[in-house]
């Protein structure tokens, strides 16, 4: 459903692009058109969606809080308070302390920062791979397409969790950036498939053909004409990937296949907190709660973006459906 809707959205924009010289990128072209630009329209729709806006605000706030917490928190994440082991939340230790006297608030903030950073970076890596693979497969077709899609199918059969779990012990001791690359390497398949499908239809459009006949090399065509026209879907997909990656990363870290000590992520915190004892819930409830809130916020943003980009999704349908609703109720 998403695919077709987004294509419709892109199609509405295409005449403006087609009318301008081929070398002008799509964004510049639409800003020259009179009245409201598509970007502003999308922005306006997004801002009107209160849930999505709240999600975005929550996300920014959480990230800022995690980044700035060392400035105002009484304890650092690597400090030990030898006078307070396994204490419940108090004025000095806002989220309590662990068995060895670590401050749970400082640790949670550190973990939140790491988990969010990993989610955002991985989504960036994944969308780059997905757009290159998807656009190339769709644009070139033939054996390039068959080969790339076969790889996609293969990676889809193998759960990425399994592959990453196998590889990550070998990365032990390396920087967490490598872990991000590993996550990104196995998070792009479904997006690539969708982008390939869209490229197949874009390839046949006049402005792409015109560019081709004028002698533009495939790389330029993909970068200037194919990718900008799939931007809306790519933005939505980045959001979805952020949420999925945070879940995957915390899951892997929970098993010890992700972030390694002394560094912490929300996953390792929840694991350490829960293996100790369920009777000291502050050890895992705060990190768990923040994890759910963060992912929930990401999902709301993603949902809002989809509605904003896609004129036919819920936002537009709402009024029609609502009119029909009483009739349905009466029938039951």
């Amino acid at each position: 459903m998403t695919t077709t809707d987004v294509t419709n959205g892109a199609a509405a924009r295409i005449p403006a692009v087609g009318a301008t010289p081929v070398t002008v990128p799509a964004g510049a072209a639409s800003s020259e058109t009179e009245g409201i630009t598509r970007g502003r329209l999308v922005m306006r729709r997004f801002v009107r969606n209160r849930l999505a806006l709240a999600g975005l605000a929550t996300l920014v706030l959480l990230y800022l809080l995690a980044l700035t917490s060392p400035l105002f928190a009484p304890w650092a994440y690597s400090e030990y308070d030898y006078t307070a082991f396994l204490q419940a939340p108090s004025a000095s230790h806002w989220f309590g302390t662990s068995q060895i006297g670590e401050d749970v608030f400082a640790q949670t903030m550190r973990g939140l920062q790491k988990s969010l950073s990993i989610g955002l970076l991985t989504a960036a890596v994944s969308i780059v791979i997905a757009s290159v693979v998807g656009a190339s497969a769709g644009y070139f077709g033939g054996w390039v397409d068959r080969g790339l899609m076969w790889v996609v199918d293969l990676l889809l059969v193998l759960p990425s969790f399994l592959i990453i779990a196998i590889i990550s012990p070998a990365l032990r001791g390396d920087s967490w950036i490598l872990f991000v690359l590993l996550l990104g390497l196995f998070a792009w398949m479904i997006t690539a498939r969708i982008l390939r499908g869209m490229t197949l239809t874009l390839r046949e459009r006049e402005f792409v053909k015109a560019a081709k006949f004028m002698g533009a090399p495939p790389r330029t065509i993909i970068r200037r004409h194919i990718l900008p026209n799939m931007a809306s879907l790519m933005i939505i997909d980045v959001t979805i990937t952020v949420g999925a990656t945070i879940l995957l990363e915390t899951g892997l870290s929970f098993f010890g296949f992700g972030i390694q000590p002394p560094d912490v992520s929300l996953g390792t915190l929840i694991r350490d907190g829960s293996t100790a004892s369920l009777t000291t819930p502050w050890l895992f409830l705060f990190s768990g709660g923040l994890l759910v809130i963060a992912v929930l916020a990401v999902n709301f943003v993603g949902d809002g973006l989809r509605d904003a980009f896609d004129p036919q999704s819920r936002g537009g349908q709402r009024r029609q459906q609502k009119k029909a609703a009483p009739a349905q109720k009466a029938a039951f």
Binding site: M1, D153, L154, V157, L158, P159, F161, L162, I163, A165, I166, I167, P169, A170, G243, L247, T250, G251, F254, F255, G256, F257, G267, I270, R271, S274, L278, T279, P281, F284, G288, L291, V292, V295, L296, V298, N299, F300, Q321, K322, A324, A325, Q328, K329, A331, F332
Partner: protein, 325 residues
């Protein structure tokens, strides 16, 4: 239809084999099963390490190792673990544990998910729809391991409130449990509740979202109005014409969801102390054991393969146009 299904089956078998090889090669490349032996203090003599290497075939090329492992696997021998126990002996028990958990969890998940989704679509924008949507969003944002932990925590509270061990959250049965059939069944059910719920909740959330969308698409369609114009009651039209159509896109989702359960199952099994395939995978990786890892991957591949193929069969059954292909 037979040709269509046969072709799909062949495709899945090829994919499954390559996927297993891929996992085997990755495991063989990255694992270092003798590392622990070498780190012993005092270090064991080189001859011992060489013997272990030879025993684990570590010096053979990886494709050769894979072929010899696969050759055994086809005949039902999945090789030995690094600590020299037979994988084949443990395999049926582990598969049994996992399948029991997955099948029950999936059945509950699909049934409730479809009901919730259809109800949400029929009463769109009613209060119940909002509650269901919020529930799905929250559950989908909660990782499985946290869900399991929270349920465990809730069960602890319930148990202490009731003053009795109503819900048990470790293992499959009470070790050494003796009693009549009824008591044994009750014991099993007490152990089953939480793991099944953990698996089912995520699926309910996911499927209800998709089912709601699929049902909404169908609700606005012409054929549903025609069915009612023909004289069917709304209820009959909805269930005989609407639901059937809305279930078609779901079939693929169900099947693949089942195949990919292994990830969620891994967490569930670990948290609740069930010794199934997911638990084995984590154990295999922690022990740097290529054979266990490859065996679990093969199991996953077979699961995905069978469920993917079943999706095609469902598709053919539900959608007459596919049968002609």
């Amino acid at each position: 239809m037979t040709r269509f299904l046969a072709r799909r089956l062949l495709n899945y078998v090829a994919l499954g084999l390559v996927a297993t090889f891929f996992a085997f090669a990755l495991a063989a490349l990255t694992f270092d099963p003798v590392g622990r032996l070498q780190e012993r203090n005092p270090p064991p003599p080189p001859s011992v390490i060489d013997a272990k290497r030879a025993e684990l075939q570590l010096d053979d090329p990886i494709p050769a190792r894979f072929v010899s492992w696969l050759g055994g696997a086809v005949q039902g021998d999945f090789g030995k673990t690094t600590v020299n126990t037979s994988i084949s002996e443990e395999l049926p028990r582990r598969i049994g544990v996992s399948l029991r958990l997955f099948l029950l969890g999936t059945t509950v998940g699909i049934t409730l998910g479809v009901i919730l989704g259809v109800a949400g679509a029929i009463r769109q924008y009613a209060f119940s729809d909002y509650v269901a949507t919020l529930f799905s969003f929250v559950v989908l944002s909660t990782p499985v391991f946290l869900l399991g932990l929270l349920l465990k925590y809730a069960a602890l509270e319930i148990n202490s409130a009731a003053g009795a061990q109503l819900i048990v959250f470790t293992g499959e049965t009470t070790p050494g449990f003796q009693g009549s059939f009824g008591a044994a069944l009750l014991d099993r059910i007490q152990h089953l509740i939480l793991p099944t719920l953990t698996i089912a909740l995520g699926q309910i959330a996911l499927y209800s979202r998709y089912q709601r969308n699929a049902m909404l698409d169908v609700l606005g369609s012409d054929f549903l109005r025609t069915a009612q114009a023909k004289g069917l009651t709304r209820r009959k039209a909805l269930f005989k014409h609407g639901l059937r159509t809305a279930l078609i896109p779901m079939a693929t989702l169900f099947a693949f969801g089942f195949g990919l359960l292994i990830t969620g199952g891994t967490f569930t099994e670990r948290i609740f102390g069930w010794f199934g395939m997911g638990d084995w995978l984590v154990y295999g990786i922690q022990q740097q054991d290529t054979n266990i890892t490859a065996t679990v991957t093969l199991f996953v591949a077979v699961l995905v393969l069978v469920s993917g193929w079943l999706a095609d069969v469902f598709y053919a059954l539900l959608d007459p146009r596919v049968r002609l292909r």
